[in-house]
């Protein structure tokens, strides 16, 4: 609520505002000149503001030039966004300690510093709000981000100048300051017109006992911001842009821009809304004490789309650039209900080879281009009712104890874990946990059985972290976060035939579903299991599956890719199991998990048998690092696979399923 009355703060008394902020227990962070650029750093007094400087920017170029007038805020925006203070580049996450079998993992949460952001512009206020929505979306928010943002008081400055990389006008975020701040300053030669926009801001300003701003002063402020709007114009027509971009996923320009793009990640790190991070793990020499921290990362990094076994979902720079641009201007709307771009132009100026996002947008998704409805995944928000909230926070670590270990194959073991944690025991089929041992990477692991007093995790040893987990012995402890993600929609299968298709380790997340179906067997029609494995020795849960095969009310068909003389069953790929199928797919609900190529082939086969896309459910593998939708790694079009999935229906995924590089 912007107070109607505006006051006037003479330039010579700006120090009093500083003092009032300090008296409020705050450190003042504001613009100052460092190494030839304006950065946001701690200020001791207004004397450190960038008086007399303006920024000249162009694609790939930033220079401070004398502005020719003694104003503090002619520089437009700083190099680094305020996210450095709300979403620091390195944040400690957890501390782990191992003592013999015992493992304790605790989240690390420092009390956030009490700051005043001095000089935030309209585009930056929009960015702060957008990042808040991103970090608090979904069932689990990010407590660290929330605490830091809430602890900051924002003194905004309305722009009196612009540079040629500004395009806030197109993105609807500026230049006028409209909410999002506690105090709003507009700079004139002799001082500042001051508006207050929150009770906290009013309390600070009231204490200064300023005279009201004169009508002429308010008029000049209005005129100078209007001049900024005119100067910027409307360089990026945004009408229909999200759908125009969706329709242009195969545009040849993506490959052309990739030829120029260095994939250096600068655009994302200077972006005031980009929030993606990676988790890094450190330990001492004995792996007794471990720590994790999260650091700024970027969808331009090779590791971003990488999963166990070194497969990479976005191997090409083309894929990464497309992910960034479509996320900012299209899928952000699906995820968070707003644009992900505020038009600050940092990505243009700080691109070392001067790639101009405005130019790329106009080339890839030109204004007025037809935007036909395309079978793109529906927005997570529209597509279905929100999943019931998980009842643990992302920082909640629960210790579970290994009760026994079953070796399923040469490289796969099932840990039977005892826990009394209500949230874990309430897990639904298809959910997963993040499993942590001090010093090791933290993999997402599907729950392979939900027991009255514990959980089973079936883990294939593909690297050191999974090897350490499968190497645990009875009595050893492991730290878990979860249950996470959306499970299989068991209820949706009531009254229907059930088709379950598993490839290799993919049987693990399906087993709790099988358990649930069998526990309530009369409520389902025919139950058919189709199981594939690489070799006979790679089959999972062999005794259990044999027992199922002997039941009259369950059909089990198995096939292996390769086999020696010891195997009397079928050899080939899973889809071959459907060769003789005569059942009517229109009455069936299908659930599948396995390598993505296998699921693509199976999806086609199921469709041929009449199973509807909305009745075909699968679980996707992506690089899930945080498990709660805030690290950004596992995005697939509008989805965060960890939070919105990993279970999806084919209808939800639409053309996103199996699309290369998405």
């Amino acid at each position: 609520v912007v107070a109607a009355a505006a006051a006037f703060l003479p330039r010579t008394e700006l120090g009093r505002l500083f003092e009032a902020l300090v008296a409020d227990g705050r450190r003042v962070i504001g613009p100052t000149v460092v190494d030839g650029a304006v950065v946001y750093d701690e200020l001791a007094s207004p004397a450190e503001l960038p008086y007399g400087w303006r920024a000249e920017t162009a694609p790939g170029i930033y220079r401070l030039e004398p502005s020719g007038r003694e104003r503090a805020f002619d520089y437009t925006i700083g190099v680094t966004a305020w996210k450095r203070y709300t979403h620091p580049s390195i944040v400690p996450l957890s501390r782990a300690h191992r003592e013999g079998n015992q493992v304790v993992v605790e989240s690390v949460a420092d009390a956030p510093p009490r700051l005043a952001f001095f000089g935030a512009r309209a585009c930056e206020l929009a960015a702060l709000a957008i990042q808040v929505r991103a970090m608090r979306a979904g069932p689990l928010g990010d407590a660290d981000h929330a605490a830091r943002r809430d602890a900051a008081l924002v003194v905004a400055v309305e722009c009196a100048t612009s540079t040629n990389t500004c395009f806030c006008t197109s993105m609807g975020t500026g230049p006028e300051v409209d909410g999002g701040a506690d105090i709003v300053l507009s700079e004139l030669e002799a001082g500042f017109v001051v508006r207050t926009a929150s009770d906290a801001g009013a309390a600070i300003v009231d204490g200064l006992e300023l005279r009201p701003a004169a009508p002429s002063e308010k008029d000049r402020v209005a005129a100078q911001v209007a001049a900024v709007r005119t100067a910027i114009g409307d360089p990026v027509p945004t009408e229909g842009l999200p759908t125009r971009l969706r329709a242009a996923l195969d545009h040849p320009r993506w490959a052309e821009v990739a030829d120029r793009c260095l994939a250096c990640a600068n655009c994302t790190l200077v972006c005031p809304t980009c929030f993606c991070t990676s988790v890094t793990v450190a330990s001492d020499l004995d792996n007794i004490d471990g720590t994790t921290e999260r650091t700024w990362d970027s969808c331009f990094s090779a590791g971003f789309g990488r999963v166990a076994g070194d497969a990479n979902f976005r191997p090409k720079v083309r894929d990464r650039y497309r992910q960034w641009l479509t996320h900012k201007f299209s899928t952000w709307w699906d995820q968070f209900g707003s644009t992900g771009c505020v038009g600050c132009g940092r990505c243009i100026a700080w691109c070392p080879v001067g790639i101009d996002v405005r130019e790329e947008l106009l080339a890839i998704a030109p204004a007025g281009a037809p935007s036909p409805p395309i079978p793109w995944p529906v927005s997570p928000a529209q597509g279905r009712a929100p999943a019931p909230l998980a009842v643990v926070g992302p920082a909640t670590h629960v210790t579970a104890t290994v009760r026994s270990v079953t070796f399923e194959t040469l490289d796969t073991a099932t840990l039977h874990l005892a826990t009394s944690d209500a949230a874990l025991l309430g897990a639904r089929p298809g959910q997963f946990v993040m499993a942590e041992l001090p010093g090791f990477a933290i993999p997402p692991i599907s729950i392979s059985r939900i027991e009255p007093d514990g959980l089973a995790l079936t883990i294939r040893s593909v690297g050191p972290a999974t090897a350490a987990l499968t190497g645990l012995t009875p009595g050893a402890e492991v730290s878990l976060r979860g249950p996470l993600g959306r499970g299989w929609p068991v209820d949706a299968a009531f009254g229907h035939d059930v088709v379950i298709v598993a490839g290799g380790i993919g049987l693990a997340p399906l087993r709790p579903l099988i358990d649930a179906v069998l526990a309530d067997r009369p409520r389902f029609g025919a139950v058919r299991l189709y199981l594939g494995a690489r070799t006979p020795r790679d089959r999972l849960f062999v005794a259990e599956m044999s027992a199922l095969a002997s039941r009259a009310d369950v059909e089990v068909a198995e096939i292996v890719d390769r086999a020696g003389p010891e195997w009397f069953g079928r050899v080939g790929v899973v889809t071959q199991l459907f060769d003789q199928a005569t059942w009517d797919g229109s009455r069936a609900i299908a659930f599948m998990c396995g390598p993505e190529r296998m699921m693509q082939a199976t999806a086609s086969t199921l469709e041929r048998l009449g199973v509807r896309p909305a009745a075909t459910w699968l679980t996707l593998e992506r690089n899930m690092a945080c498990g709660v939708g805030t690290c950004g790694h596992c995005q697939l079009g509008p989805f965060f696979v960890c939070r919105d999935g990993p279970v999806f229906s084919l209808a939800e995924l639409g053309t996103a399923f199996g699309r290369e590089g998405l």
Binding site: D286, V317, P352, G471
Partner: protein, 287 residues
């Protein structure tokens, strides 16, 4: 991708790692010993590490010598003589995990600049009696001759990455050695981009991180001592740098410690070779 030790399933567990102290060797070929000194610079930690591993060969630090076998062998230096070709093959045969350290071993080093020159001319220019010198026509990265399991880049290597590698080795986890651009470190630190704000040519966008953005933090451009990162688009950077610079100047920017790495070499070749080979710069390439 970096291999880890041991490699059998289930053997990554802390118990398995602790059960056996890996035998470690450090050897050098054509190099300045700077990377070996980085190992010694770990000082206090080195003692703790030495309790976890058995250092059986490290000429810079100990008089103990070993012909192998080695669980892990750190190899410094480029392969520049016929004898070295034989020796690296012998070492490979007695080593489980061969780790090259530094720009010389991983990319050929600064001495690989001679790879563009006539071998005989170089010999005569450097040695009064070249007949006594038995050298290869080129200075090679170790991987030109034997399989390399892991690399620690840099000139010299980073103590932080070395520490991470050693801890991962003894604890049995995968070392976290990012293959991303220097730019990410620069931005995380809040360093103002020297390329954009001051027009200083910087190889950061195409160079692998690990140094902590050391040069840009001191107002210098990155000169690529960690060598090319994953997906290094050196051609696009060279094209951008051509504005206002001569062909020779652009080529020279890439002709440093990792000049012989393929992505940098390609740019150097396209710009007339390294300094000394290039015609006197007169025409500019911006057009």
């Amino acid at each position: 991708m970096v291999a880890s030790l041991p490699t059998e399933p289930g053997r990554h567990s802390p118990r398995a790692a602790a059960a056996k102290r890996p035998r470690i060797g450090v050897v050098k070929f054509a190099s300045c010993d700077g990377c070996q000194l980085t190992i010694l610079d770990l000082e206090d930690e080195l003692l703790a590490i030495a309790e976890k591993v058995e250092i059986v060969e490290f000429a810079e630090a100990t008089s103990r010598r070993s012909a192998g076998p080695f669980d892990v062998l750190f190899v410094e230096g480029s392969i520049s003589t016929p004898d070295q070709v034989e020796e690296i093959a012998r070492l490979r045969a007695v080593t489980r995990l061969l780790v090259t350290i530094g720009a010389c071993a991983t990319a050929g080093g600064i001495q690989a600049i001679r790879n563009w020159l006539d071998h005989e001319q170089v010999r005569h220019a450097v040695y009064p009696e070249p007949a006594f010198v038995d050298s290869l026509a080129m200075a090679h990265p170790v991987a030109d001759f034997v399989h390399v399991d892991a690399e620690l880049r840099g000139c010299p290597i980073s103590p932080g990455q070395l520490r991470e590698f050693l801890i991962a080795l003894v604890t049995g986890r995968r070392p976290q050695l990012p293959d991303e651009a220097v730019c990410l470190e620069c931005k995380r630190r809040g360093v103002v981009c020297v390329a954009v704000a001051r027009g200083i040519p910087c190889l950061g966008p195409v160079t692998r991180t690990g140094c902590g953005a050391l040069c840009p933090a001191y107002g210098r451009g990155c000169y690529g001592c960690f060598g090319p990162r994953e997906s290094a688009n050196t051609g696009a950077l060279a094209a951008w740098l051509a504005d206002g610079r001569t062909t020779a100047e652009v080529g020279r920017l890439f002709a440093g410690f990792t000049a012989w790495s393929a992505p940098f070499r390609t740019v150097i070749d396209a710009h007339g070779g390294p300094p000394g080979m290039t015609p006197e710069p007169s025409e500019t390439t911006d057009a």
